[in-house]
């Protein structure tokens, strides 16, 4: 056989092999496209979570659980079930989120409940870089995808795992720490290693400080009063009425005990 014949034979074989590969690829393509789309949504949610963590936790809470008095929960049934009807939004919930985040909110639609940082308008700043905010369109889309991902939890609040991994349910101090996050305290108070916020006083050292305040029988007494009745004694440099007044109604007694127990361990500055 001459070389040219070998080349023709091999070449034909190779072209057949290439065609087979192409056919295989084409037959797997619909599944690949679907898989890619799921994976793409997953990485968009991850990306959105990172955007959320950097920009939104100070008002909406470390785990989107909301901060009483400041900003609403973004993973709760309220948002997913009745919210767009309540505000008369025509489009989808995802579009509502994109639009609210893009423009921000000058004035609260629920002034009794959410006042942002409490310094007047806007209660939520504009986020889009088109209007002077820090976020690009793709970031806003991603953060919306991240919030939409909470739909499953909103539909089934019982299934939501405790926000922090603490598992020992017999330890009041550990449970108190979890409750601090759950009820949004960490949205206003700095606790080293747990949260950073400037709206309320730093909690580290509260256990020592509380014992020195005149008019209260004990440190525990003062802390309990500060939570249930914040205006009774005002910490210097902070205003009346910023810390929500209704924690007594929101927080069950057992959780309140845990919170107090936890705060009593914060002795060092």
């Amino acid at each position: 056989m001459k070389r040219i014949h070998i080349e023709i034979a091999l070449g034909t074989l190779f072209i057949i092999a290439s065609s087979v590969i192409l056919i295989l690829m084409a037959s797997e393509e619909p599944a690949r496209l679907a898989r890619y789309e799921t994976q793409q949504l997953a990485s968009q949610i991850e990306f959105g979570a990172a955007v959320y963590e950097v920009n939104c936790t100070s008002c909406h809470g470390s785990h989107a659980q909301g901060v009483p008095g400041k900003a609403p929960c973004l993973r709760c049934p309220d948002l997913f079930e009745g919210r767009i009807a309540e505000v008369g939004w025509q489009g989808s919930l995802e579009d509502y989120i994109v639009s609210v985040v893009t423009t921000g909110r000058q004035i609260s639609t629920r002034p009794g409940l959410y006042q942002g940082e409490g310094q007047g308008p806007p209660v939520m700043p504009t986020w889009s870089d088109k209007f002077g905010g820090p976020l690009r369109d793709d970031q806003i889309r991603a953060v919306a995808a991240f919030i939409m991902n909470y739909e499953e939890w909103a539909a089934n609040p019982e299934a939501v795992p405790t926000p922090l991994f603490v598992v020992d349910s017999n330890d009041p101090i550990a449970l108190g720490r979890v409750a601090m996050v759950q009820y949004g305290c960490t949205g206003c108070h700095t606790i080293q290693g747990l949260s950073e916020a400037v709206t309320g006083p730093v909690m580290n050292g509260i256990a020592t400080r509380a014992g020195t305040i005149a008019g209260y029988a004990s440190a525990e007494d003062y802390i309990r009063a500060s939570i249930l009745n914040p205006n009774e004694y005002l910490v210097e440099g902070f205003n009346e009425g910023v810390m929500p007044q209704n924690f007594g109604e929101i927080i069950p007694a057992a959780d309140l005990d845990n919170i107090v127990a936890y705060l009593l361990t914060l002795t060092d500055n």
Binding site: I4, I8, G11, T12, I15, A42, R136, Y150, F165
Partner: protein
């Protein structure tokens, strides 16, 4: 009227005469289409028979057809030796054609605006039938083209094929090297992800240090102080219009010189070596384009296509796509594509430092103050703007520097040694160009970056969601065996595989621990305290936090480095 029509019809030949007339008509058409081959001749070509007419009609194709005009009529047998050219130039051309075809397909979907570019790439990957294939082929073809251009350059250098009348071919070749580099550079930006955006930002910033026109040049390239809409559009047009056209033009000139003017050079052994007359005669035997060379080329096309498809199909190559470009956040290891690592390595050299280290021991011995050359010799300027043009200048000048006619390797030992030296220099510079080389990253940052690099996957992101068990794990305290329960087992939702224990999580934690503990032992992280924390952050979404604190020796303060990752159940874990 009717009668004249009848008359005409009666003139139409019938039977054998008709067949002959039809055949002649078709034959004439075939001759026009093939620019000279009759049907009979075509058949002879396909059967491998000798030409049927004289003069050889197969040569007529080449002299009369515009496109085929670029092709040679024949090459001497010696020039077609595989070991002479390795078909490197040929494959470079092949990959260029692959780029043109796949690029045209990608162009249909791509949108060259910053807020849509990345999305359009996602669209190609997730919504265009075989879109990923075309992206992979385009990317793979580009890298192959760059590689083969370099290999081809070294081949022509080592075989001494740039000498004498082929000087101009070499010059157009060097121009093609630059064009190829620019095509890949401009293409790199188009995905508009962190990878491309920052590689190009760093790349274009090289001109910044230039005198007078430097900053202006930078702005001309970027379209604004930072790459934005203008910059992207500019790169896009360079990539899809201007430079493909220039490349087609220069490749045509380059190839015309090779194919029609001088032919491919004979192997030096035939020209200068002591070989038998028989062998010389055989080497000078004509191998015609039609059918032999053409068959061979079709064969090579089949090889090339199969190789590309196999590489893509078996996932040996995947086009990267990072998170969208973010001008505010520079990734930790900005990585140029591998074919620019040599340049990145070059930029890490500081000539002022080297000279100071060399000269200062001598200078101080004479009682003078140590030299401070940093102000005089700006590294970025020298290594980024002076050295590369000088290298290109040397490349251009090679045929003029090396004027000896000898082509046989053994007769030009100096030139061969010089070529090998260059290969080593390029490899060494490329090695220095690796992000890890010569850049001191703080220990904690390095360890975490290796676990979950900002570009690419890393073993943390490869960990199946089921293994990311919520909890706090402390380095030095938590034993890897306690990361999951003794009887822990799960079915990986993505692969359907049954897995016993949590091997990935153990690997992550062990690499995290061993990296940090090693740094502690070296004294880089005294009083180390480090945790790995995993918690639920949403449905099918977990947050992984790595927090490392240590006592900083200089300030005597506790420093903390924290990094967060969000991992969704459905994320891609390979690629």
């Amino acid at each position: 009227m009717i009668s004249s029509l009848r008359q005409r019809l009666s003139q139409i030949p019938r039977g054998a005469e008709l067949r002959k007339r039809i055949f002649e008509m078709i034959d004439e058409r075939v001759r026009i289409v093939t620019a000279g081959l009759s049907i009979k001749e075509l058949r002879a070509v396909l059967r491998g028979d000798p030409p049927t007419e004289k003069p050889n009609p197969r040569y007529k194709v080449i002299t009369t057809s515009f496109v085929a005009h670029l092709r040679p009529r024949y090459y001497p047998q010696g020039a077609t030796w595989f070991t002479h050219t390795f078909r490197l130039g040929w494959f470079t051309t092949f990959f260029f054609v692959v780029e043109l075809i796949t690029g045209l397909v990608l162009m249909i979907y791509y949108i060259p605006f910053p807020d849509q570019a990345y999305g359009s790439i996602l669209e190609i990957e997730s919504n265009v039938f075989l879109g990923e294939l075309f992206r992979d082929l385009h990317r793979l073809g580009a890298e192959a083209m760059v590689l083969f251009t370099w290999l081809h350059l070294f081949r022509t250098y080592f075989t001494g094929s740039y000498k004498g009348q082929r000087t101009f071919t070499w010059l157009t070749g060097v121009a093609l090297l630059a064009i190829t580099a620019w095509l890949s550079f401009t293409g790199y930006l188009l995905t508009w992800d962190q990878l491309g955006y920052w590689a190009i930002t760093v790349g274009t910033s090289m001109t910044d240090s230039g005198p007078v026109v430097g900053p202006a040049l930078n702005i001309i390239m970027r379209g604004a102080p930072d790459i934005g809409t203008g910059g992207l559009l500019r790169f896009y047009l360079n990539h899809v219009v201007l430079f493909p056209l220039i490349a087609i033009l220069i490749i045509s000139i380059h190839y015309y010189k090779v194919s029609r003017e001088h032919g491919i050079s004979m192997p030096a052994v035939i020209e200068e070596g002591e070989v038998s007359e028989d062998k010389k005669k055989e080497a000078n035997r004509r191998i015609d384009l039609i059918p032999d060379l053409l068959t061979h080329e079709i064969f090579l096309v089949a090889v090339g296509i199969l190789a590309l498809l196999v590489i893509v199909y078996f996932d040996l190559f995947n086009s990267p796509l990072e998170t969208p470009a973010n001008p505010q956040v520079t990734p930790l290891d900005t990585k140029a594509p591998w074919y620019f690592w040599w340049l990145q390595g070059l930029l890490k050299i500081e000539p002022a430092k080297i000279l100071e280290n060399l000269l200062n021991p001598i200078v101080t011995r004479f009682g003078m103050a140590p030299l401070q050359l940093g102000l005089l010799l700006d590294s970025k300027f020298i290594m980024g703007l002076v050295v590369p043009p000088v290298v290109v200048g040397i490349l251009f000048a090679i045929p003029y520097i090396d004027r000896t006619p000898a082509r046989l390797a053994r007769k030009r030992p100096f030139a061969i040694a010089w070529g090998i030296l260059w290969i080593f220099i390029i490899l060494a510079l490329s090695y220095m160009g690796l992000p890890e080389f010569g850049i001191e990253t703080p220990a904690a940052t390095r360890v975490i970056q290796d676990l979950a690099p900002e570009e690419g996957l890393g073993i943390l992101r490869e960990t199946p969601y089921e293994e990311l068990l919520p909890g706090i794990y402390t380095v030095g305290e938590t034993s890897p065996e306690d990361l999951c329960a003794k009887d822990f087992a799960y079915t990986d939702h993505a692969t359907g595989k049954q897995v016993i224990g949590c091997p990935h999580l153990v690997e992550v934690f062990e690499q995290y621990s061993s990296g940090l503990l090693a740094a502690e032992a070296e004294g880089k992280l005294p009083e180390l305290h480090a945790i790995l924390l995993i918690e639920d952050y949403g449905p099918d979404l977990r947050r992984v936090e790595m927090e490392v604190s240590w006592l900083d020796a200089e300030s005597d303060e506790v420093k903390t480095y924290v990094k967060h990752y969000f991992l969704h159940r459905d994320r891609a874990r390979e690629h």
